[in-house]
């Protein structure tokens, strides 16, 4: 059985536990075991902490990497933000010996040493490469027939492309292909590759600007006839889900587009029930989507 160290981050365990459950259960269904990284912290958040002090950001990230190294397991994560931090920190430390030595001087004070022995993989990579969409297509027990999904890629899974190396950043297909393997269809919409608005510390300090971007994306998805929106990132997930409620409250809008995490959608197609996947715990009701699946 293949094993990965599951880096939880903040938002899944502390706001959307359904994402954590759906990820563990869906991956287990394919024989991938997700291990706890005991004592892991915030990745730390690339937007605020990275913008404040990249050095502190790097050393805390290195500590999280070391915890997984001690388990002899590669890391996987369900957040583009955590992925951005851990993948980039790992890349920088692996390619610069001086940087690695300096980081290890700091880590030595807490008895840790970074070796550079692991890879950081987004959960998308586990589904697309490790398991493979053909196998997913053959395994699903309840194809999501007739469901129109607007896919959101987020920014930091794909970009910067020099370090991520996942192909086209302007016309990616990896998530659309996942949706198709689950028996659903995807809708193309205007500015599909656009940011959700939350990153870079914008949500925490300039909420109205972040929400303005969110509204633009949701409008485009609705115009394209989407039944739901699928996210690959905990932070984008929060921004779209809570964000719709915030838009409704602040600007008297009436948004109610269900937001589903990619492993929740996978779990549904595997035949798991909405309740165990935490789909009743979102801010925006998922009722309309679930009715369509009955």
């Amino acid at each position: 059985m293949r094993q990965y160290a599951y880096f939880l981050g903040c938002i899944a365990p502390n706001r959307y536990p359904g994402i954590e459950v759906a990820t563990r259960k869906s991956l287990a269904d394919f024989g991938v075991n997700l291990l706890d990284i005991k004592g892991a912290s915030c990745c730390p958040a690339p937007g605020v902490l990275g913008s404040f002090d990249l050095w502190s950001w790097l050393v805390v990230a290195a500590r999280n990497l070391v915890l997984a190294e001690e388990m002899n397991a590669d890391i996987t994560t369900t957040c583009n933000g955590c992925y951005a931090t851990l993948q980039e920190a790992n890349h920088l430390l692996k390619h610069d010996v001086n940087l690695k030595n300096r980081a290890n001087e700091s880590l030595a004070k807490v008895g840790k040493q970074y070796r550079g022995s692991l890879e950081v993989k987004h959960i998308i990579e586990l589904l697309s490469d490790e398991i493979g969409y053909e196998r997913i297509e053959k395994t699903i027990r309840r194809p999501l027939k007739g469901v129109k999904v607007a896919v959101h890629y987020g920014c930091h899974f794909l970009k910067p492309s020099e370090t991520r190396m996942h192909g086209s950043v302007e016309r990616p297909t990896v998530l659309d292909d996942l949706v198709k393997s689950l028996g659903a269809q995807t809708v193309d919409y205007k500015d599909k590759a656009m940011c959700c608005g939350a990153g870079g510390g914008v949500r925490s300090a300039n909420l109205e600007i972040a929400l303005d971007m969110t509204a633009e994306k949701i409008d485009n998805m609705i115009d394209a006839g989407a039944d739901c929106l699928m996210t690959p990132c905990q932070f984008c997930h929060l921004q779209f889900d809570r964000g719709q409620i915030e838009l409704n409250e602040k600007y008297a809008r009436k948004y109610n587009l269900p937001v589903v995490f990619l492993t929740q959608l996978t779990g549904l197609a595997l035949g798991m029930n909405a309740k165990e996947l935490g789909l009743y715990d979102n801010a925006v009701s998922t009722e309309n989507l679930l009715k369509k699946l009955q």
Partner: protein, 184 residues
């Protein structure tokens, strides 16, 4: 700001700031990436690609102009510097392969060193220094976790107080706490 950017402006202008930005970024990123700052030709592809620039006064090209012409205070104190969501669209599209987003991150680090920081961001940092998570657990999430069959606290620093101490010690060692808590 000069209305026309002349060759002389850069040659005779304050080059120190360009070097300072490159040095700051090179503490973490490869120097070869940071020196791409000098390759900017002010074409504006960055601004044209920017989702934040469509709705705010943030102009990526302009911050690079200010940086290249040595307008240190204007560049570092710009409130709009914090409207970049770091989506990397500009960096991907830059025809001169300038590491625009990474250079913005370096500029922000310098801005913070100068004391230009938003209180909302400071609050996020304080939360991390206290709980080890930027978004810590709350009662609602605890209840959901239990209902879904998960332990009340996740197996992170939330469940391991010694690990939290270790993480905070790192943030003290790197000078992060001092940066956040210093008195102006």
């Amino acid at each position: 700001m000069p209305s026309i950017l002349k060759r002389q402006t850069i040659r005779e202008g304050q080059r120190d700031f360009v070097e300072e930005v490159i040095d700051q970024g090179s503490k973490i990123f490869p120097r070869a990436d940071m020196v791409t700052l000098r390759a900017c030709i002010q074409c504006g592809t960055c601004t044209g690609s920017c989702p934040s620039g469509r709705r705010t006064a943030w102009r990526t090209r302009q911050i690079f102009l200010k940086t290249l012409t040595g307008e240190r205070k204007e560049a570092l104190s710009a409130e709009d510097l914090w409207n970049c969501t770091t989506c990397y669209t500009c960096q991907e599209r830059c025809p001169r392969k300038v590491r625009t987003t990474d250079i913005v991150r370096a500029l922000r680090n310098l801005a913070v060193k100068e004391g230009y920081m938003r209180q909302d961001h400071v609050r996020v940092c304080q939360i991390v220094l206290k709980y080890g998570h930027a978004v810590p657990i709350n009662d609602e999430a605890k209840a959901i976790r239990q209902r879904l069959g998960l332990p009340e606290l996740p197996p992170t620093v939330h469940q391991y107080p010694e690990a939290l101490k270790e993480m905070i010690r790192i943030l003290e060692e790197t000078g992060f706490r001092a940066l956040i808590e210093r008195k102006e």
